[in-house]
Assembly symmetry: none
Amino acid sequence: MAPEERKKQIVDVTLGLIGKHGIQGVTTARIAAAAGVAEPTLYRHFGSRRGMLLAVLEVVRAQAAAITGSSQNPDVLERIREIGEAHRANLIRHKRGFADPFFEFVTAPASLGLRDDLREVNQSLLNRMVAIIDEGKSQGSIQPEIDSVEAAWRITGFFWFEDVAHLLGVQDEVLSGPSIKSLESIITEIAARPPA
Amino acid sequence: MAPEERKKQIVDVTLGLIGKHGIQGVTTARIAAAAGVAEPTLYRHFGSRRGMLLAVLEVVRAQAAAITGSSQNPDVLERIREIGEAHRANLIRHKRGFADPFFEFVTAPASLGLRDDLREVNQSLLNRMVAIIDEGKSQGSIQPEIDSVEAAWRITGFFWFEDVAHLLGVQDEVLSGPSIKSLESIITEIAARPPA
Amino acid sequence: MAPEERKKQIVDVTLGLIGKHGIQGVTTARIAAAAGVAEPTLYRHFGSRRGMLLAVLEVVRAQAAAITGSSQNPDVLERIREIGEAHRANLIRHKRGFADPFFEFVTAPASLGLRDDLREVNQSLLNRMVAIIDEGKSQGSIQPEIDSVEAAWRITGFFWFEDVAHLLGVQDEVLSGPSIKSLESIITEIAARPPA
Amino acid sequence: MAPEERKKQIVDVTLGLIGKHGIQGVTTARIAAAAGVAEPTLYRHFGSRRGMLLAVLEVVRAQAAAITGSSQNPDVLERIREIGEAHRANLIRHKRGFADPFFEFVTAPASLGLRDDLREVNQSLLNRMVAIIDEGKSQGSIQPEIDSVEAAWRITGFFWFEDVAHLLGVQDEVLSGPSIKSLESIITEIAARPPA
DNA sequence: AATGAATGAGCCTTCATTCAT
DNA sequence: GATGAATGAAGGCTCATTCAT
């Protein structure tokens, strides 16, 4: 198998394993088995387990971006609503105890040294959200005085809220009402006020 | 050292270690070393590592309850605000990368079997919040139609927001504005409307 | 509790524990718990775990002797038969996997250093059997030319046969027929021949 | 070293260690040291200590079968006699305190979970003996009315007799006379009676 | 007479990683 | 490009035993 291909495959199975076992349950032995290669082969493509995880994080960034970009709704407010729905749907698809792949990294041991990379990924997601809000401003559906970054953070927080709930196994109580309320609350707050 | 004292000490150093290394970094060897005893001694006081962690969780429950009960402000709305401040202050006191001790358990591997206990702790914290909101209703500062449980969840979500931000190392950006905004938003929403 | 009394009690519970867990399952912790004392107390009465086991062996010797002496039948041949029955009955009373208490020591790790003591116990049991056979000779029910020691050994071997069968969990197959046959075979062989 | 080879080597040294220390004295550390590898290496070839022991049991089964098949004497009665001699010879070759390797497993702690496998091995050995006796019947050297299984059990019992004697360190007294007598006694009993 | 507190040594097992091929 | 063989370091836990009180 060509290096590029193999590399991609390893990343893919690792992502799958994270979903099944959580990051700390992803051992090199498991990755190798799932990829159908010997353990040392992993090291031909990645310098360390951390390297593999880092590569997965890159994929996760794309997936997270996919959620953010899942709706193309021209109405920005509506789009944000739909993004929220996509996040919720994505979460429900996973098994209890496993959150958003991105969030799985958040809960990984700091000792892995992934925090900085994680922060960057988070930043890029935040930027996407900021852009959406700015778009809303320019289209007039969002109040121009709103601090875009602040609003983006609050929406991000809403995602985390859902992720943690899922992790804790209280998603039924949270996803049904409180989380939707929280997002609606943010939307309402930033929405342009109709002229008196 | 008296058993009670030793037990407490072990719990204390374990709590400290959780702060330093995260739960999965807390090995029996580290606990023993930090407590200044041999490993088997730990087992004279606790049946297993899980037992020690469970004892810590108990302490953490108390600490979390302390935050919830930190304000006695008769004005419930104001009290919620102060609880938020207490949570924020508590977070800032900790090192970067270490969130709320309670939250540290949330991110622990499910394999530890602490999830159910954790859920209970969370539930008890939630109940405290529900009680506070109900008190607000009866004192007239919170709208009577508000679903107390839903509101309590949303406030809990706000705590998580801050915890995750801290864990990710983006607390500076989040704690300064967005998190306060989010809490204020909830408070505003549930607050009794002044008569027209 | 008086030392003698306590000592006896420890021996008693230890014997009971051997029945429940086998010798290697008898830990000092278990003995102490069963005796209702602290572990160090055991060491006030015995120099070591080995010492406790040794004391139990002494009791076991008496119990084994009890089996050998369980029948007072004046007819020696019949008496041997009854002793066999007593052994079988004793075995059946125990749980599967636990043999004769005496035999439990036979299977103990050699590293315990109980072998020599065990040999002595065995010798004393053998002697009892020899005496019985000699009695048979003098009463005319056993052939005078029979080597008493040899016959005694063979009967002992029959006991072992049953013990091992029990240990292996094949007692149903062995105790019902083969073992009885073996004993009868020995009895027949040593019995005085009726005059032609 | 090739896996097959290494595996075999581990089994071999383990068998040797069983002889030296008994099964409970065979620790993974000792096996590794004796095999000249690190402990984790053992786990590349066996799933657990129990797995290694199981593999040894397989070898032991073969060894035991070898004894049963050591004689090809066409006269079945004589063959049984020679098998007895082979067993005795095999025993004498071992050090005091160590019995037949097979028997070492009999005395192993039930907690190892080897009992069932052991029982199977015993059964297969028993079957071999049954076959021999049946052969004797068809060749006319053994009485046709004899219960083959019962006879096979009794011969097995004779082996155990010798094993226990060896274990107890009284082999000199037992192997010289009583055990031979016991076997002869069985042989005589099952042998075809010459026509009157 | 008894024990409370403690432990050194050891057990089986897993993990990420290396190196020669 | 891939791997077969191997391992140092560590992990949670148990055991018989000691010593001061």
